[in-house]
């Protein structure tokens, strides 16, 4: 009934900026890396990103910009 633990999306995002996150895309591919920035469209910049498919690291990127419409979810690693 009470919403004392309510965390809205913007609070969640400000809480995880700088930490290691997992960004899962609609197509099933995961990117893990440090969350640098995020905007209202869910565009994301990760650094030290790894692209994982079926649990295996497929590729390494230094810096990566992910277009928000592809994002399924963002969670803390």
């Amino acid at each position: 009934m009470s919403e004392f633990e309510k965390t809205d999306p913007s609070k969640f995002l400000s809480d995880i900026i700088g930490s290691s996150v997992i960004v899962k895309l609609q197509n099933g591919i995961n990117y893990t890396g440090n969350l640098q920035t995020i905007d209202g469209y869910m565009n994301v910049v990760l650094d030290n990103a790894k692209e994982c498919s079926n649990g295996k690291v497929v590729r390494d990127y230094g810096d990566v910009f992910i277009r928000g419409n592809n994002v399924l979810y963002i969670s803390e690693a």
Binding site: M1, T7, P9, S10, F12, L13, Q26, Y73, S75
Partner: protein, 84 residues
């Protein structure tokens, strides 16, 4: 005595608001479902969920994810008060 019963429309976002703090099931536009506790949402129905299990089209459940922000753009349906 005539009583005028005015039917207040129920706003969709109200239903979501009522579910904050409770478990919900979220059906995506793809063959994916998420089940977890809703701890917040915004006008676009992006949702912050806690202890979430991802269920794929074969019914396989993932390990629970502690906390996530689910992109509202791919949400098809939200079912409140659900039990797994």
């Amino acid at each position: 005595m005539s009583e005028e019963i005015v039917e207040q429309p129920i706003l969709p976002l109200e239903i979501i608001d009522k579910s904050v703090g409770n478990k919900v099931k979220v059906l995506m536009t793809s063959d994916k479902e998420f089940y977890g506790k809703l701890i917040g949402f915004d006008d676009y129905v992006n949702m912050v969920l806690e202890d979430v299990v991802e269920i794929d089209n074969e019914g396989t459940k993932s390990d629970p994810v502690k906390k996530m922000l689910l992109n509202g753009g791919h949400v098809a349906m939200i079912i409140p008060d659900v039990v797994a």
